[in-house]
């Protein structure tokens, strides 16, 4: 296991290094002079020169790359050209908001997807199976931005059941200000017992979380169904049947646990994708997460911020993959052998 761990970690580091180089390359080909973007269009030549000096834009590219890597490692992710704040501070506020949204969505997707998958496998080729297959297929095929707009128009606009946008009611910041611990609003509100903000946040969370959950729920249902059908033909399930257990008991008591193994690793992978998928949803619901930050950065050609978001998401993806592989290596020795 140790050797597997070392090899897998080495691979992950290699990928991270590649990601850094690629991000740097993309940043360098962005049109427009970063110095002009920073100093403003009316800057004097002296101010421009100073900005170039400050960001090392006159150095040769390899030197710039080295400096970039050195800064990243020491925790300096650059200064946003738009907010004038360190990118790392911006991300420390935006990322938890995205985590909140995606976390809620995944919980929802698991709570809905696994039971539906079981239902479909239990009544394979019957009507419930058809319904679940159709529903999950629609859920993975729906354009999220459109679903977000539709739910927003219907449930927030026309029916007024939910707030249209935002993370919680803005006036709560003055009436019951939130003490930040984790920067995840719902968690902080829970820890500090700030009920007004907690209920407001949960209320605001319903619609965007539903939209983000659609894709993972569909995939999890399909996966649970497939894995369960596979397991239901295995010897331990047949033994359960021979002992006189009903088909539902066979599935839920004997087949479900081994079938959940691939489902769990799928969830870790889906997480990173849901994060990016959430970008579009954040744009519609004005959720103060990474997606909105990325959209605003892109609009103002804020290269350090764009690079920061790209790096962060890529790191999350690499980490999720690593966790999946290590967990599988732990559970299934055959994985380690390769």
């Amino acid at each position: 296991m140790l050797r597997y761990l070392a090899r897998r970690l080495g691979q992950a580091l290699l990928v991270v290094a590649g990601v850094v180089v690629l991000t740097f390359a993309v940043m360098r080909v962005v049109p427009g002079d970063p110095a002009v973007a920073f100093a403003g269009p009316k800057a004097t030549p002296e101010q421009l020169a100073e900005a170039r000096e400050r960001f090392g834009l006159d150095d040769p590219l390899p030197a710039q790359l080295l400096a970039y890597v050195r800064d990243l490692v020491t925790g300096d992710w650059g200064i946003s050209l738009r907010t004038r704040q360190p990118v790392r501070d911006d991300l420390a506020l935006a990322f938890p908001a995205s985590l909140e949204l995606v976390g809620a969505a995944l919980l929802l997707a698991i709570a809905v997807g696994i039971p539906l998958g079981v239902l479909a496998a239990r009544y394979k080729t019957k009507f419930p199976d058809f319904g679940v297959r159709l529903g999950s297929m629609l859920a993975v095929s729906v354009p999220v931005f459109w679903l977000a707009l539709a739910l927003q128009t219907l449930f927030a606009g026309a029916l007024g059941w939910f707030p249209v946008a935002g993370e919680y009611d803005a006036e709560l910041d003055t009436t019951s200000p939130l003490t930040l611990w984790t920067n995840i609003t719902a968690v902080d509100a829970l820890i500090t017992g700030n009920w007004p903000i907690l209920t407001s946040t949960l209320h605001h969370l319903v619609l965007p979380a539903l939209v983000v959950a659609a894709y993972p729920a569909g995939v999890i249902a399909q996966m649970t169904r497939a894995a369960l059908i596979e397991e239901a033909g295995q010897d331990h399930a047949r033994m359960g049947r021979a002992l006189g257990f009903g088909e539902t008991s066979v599935l839920t008591r004997f087949a479900l646990r081994p079938a959940l193994n691939p489902v769990l690793s799928l969830i870790a992978l889906v997480f990173a994708y849901a994060l990016v998928n959430g970008f579009l949803v954040e744009a519609v619901f004005n959720w103060p997460g990474l997606g909105r930050y990325a959209a605003e950065s892109i609009r103002s050609l804020d290269t350090p911020a764009i690079a920061g978001v790209t790096l962060l998401v890529a790191l999350v993806y690499v980490l999720a993959n690593l966790v999946v592989d290590l967990l599988q290596g732990l559970v299934d020795p055959r994985v380690r052998a390769r």
């Binding site: 691979q11 290699l14 990928v15 590649g18 990601v19 690629l22 993309v26 962005v30 049109p31 058809f130 297959r133 297929m137 993975v140 095929s141 729906v142 354009p143 999220v144 931005f145 459109w146 679903l147 707009l149 539709a150 927003q152 128009t153 606009g157 026309a158 894709y215 993972p216 995939v219 399909q222 996966m223 497939a226 894995a227 596979e230 193994n261 691939p262 690793s265 799928l266 992978l269 889906v270 990173a272 994708y273 990016v276 998928n277 970008f279 579009l280 744009a283 990325a294 892109i298 790209t310 998401v313 890529a314 993806y317 690499v318 993959n321 592989d325 599988q328 299934d332 055959r334 390769r338």
Partner: protein
């Protein structure tokens, strides 16, 4: 090729009982026909603007209503299908060509060459498609060609992974050994034996991916980084009509349904094909020794 009849042909009859897949196939035929025949099917000329008929609700003259400048929504949806299918076909062609070439070479050669190719692949896989597309779409001029390039850059590694694992298993088959013993040069072995026998899972994956590409392209256009006016494109139509959703629902609803229907059709067909051909390989899944549905293997960006 002669040693293994392509399983696609053998299992086509098995595909027919799967009503689900058949349904998907019929849908795709309809969508493609609608797009190809758009100039003949469309009730109005593509860019005909009638300022006096702005935002008319669906009626006998305008089945799907008219948009904010008085264009027929149905007409634009039919033409939009051409844009979407063109983008999907281009992206898949480019990424399959690049990805399968690299993958087959990596799988057949093995050793350090495989390691290098697979590590580079891993790096590109770490970028969610939408994110890298976003960054690239900023760098390049927004437009259909940029969308194609941006998505293709993030899409090819999946085909490399897939075909590398298939090719690696084919490289150990006796007929490949035989060819090697006869002194057939490696490029010829790859071209004549490894490549043709690696293609079936790739074809299934292409069908599964078409939906994902269409959704990603629509998302980029929705963000204003894809197709630009006056191109008819579904994501762009949603973006331009989004403020009108409450008052003029048809402007946004029908383009969204068009995206949903098309992505759905490809996903259903792909799932059906995968089931009928009993393909469980596919890079990530094979390496993980699990049995995920292929659509699960690659959650869409």
């Amino acid at each position: 090729m002669t040693h293994h009849a392509p399983p696609l042909r053998r299992s086509l009859p098995r595909l027919l009982p799967d009503r689900f897949a058949a349904f998907g196939a019929v849908l795709i035929v309809l969508v493609v026909l609608a797009a190809v025949l758009a100039p003949w099917l469309a009730p109005y000329p593509l860019d005909e603007v009638r300022p006096l008929e702005r935002l008319r609700p669906p009626s006998a003259e305008h089945w799907f209503g008219t948009d904010q400048v008085g264009r027929d929504v149905l007409t634009r949806i039919l033409y939009g299908g051409r844009t979407s299918l063109f983008i999907a076909a281009s992206v898949l062609a480019v990424s399959a060509l690049a990805g399968v070439t690299l993958g087959v070479v990596a799988g057949y050669a093995g050793g350090w060459l495989r390691d290098v190719i697979m590590r580079v692949t891993d790096i590109f896989l770490a970028f969610p498609a939408l994110l890298l597309s976003l960054a690239l779409a900023v760098v390049l001029q927004p437009g259909v060609n940029t969308v194609i390039l941006a998505i293709a850059v993030t899409w090819w590694p999946w085909y490399t992974r897939l075909s590398a694992s298939v090719a690696a298993s084919i490289a150990t088959r006796p007929y490949v050994d035989a060819a090697r013993c006869l002194g057939v040069p490696a490029p010829l072995i790859i071209l004549r034996h490894v490549l043709p026998n690696s293609l079936t899972p790739v074809l299934v994956q292409l069908s599964l991916d078409a939906g994902g590409v269409i959704l990603t392209a629509a998302a980029l256009s929705y963000l204003g980084l894809g197709a630009q006016e006056p191109t008819a494109e579904w994501g762009l139509m949603v973006q331009q009509g989004q403020t009108l959703f409450t008052t003029n629902w048809w402007v946004v609803t029908f383009p969204g349904l068009a995206i949903l229907l098309t992505a759905f059709a490809f996903n259903v067909l792909g799932e059906g094909l995968r089931g009928a051909l009993d393909i469980r390989s596919g890079g990530a899944r094979q390496e993980r020794a699990t049995q995920e549905p292929a659509s699960a293997e690659r959650p869409r960006p």
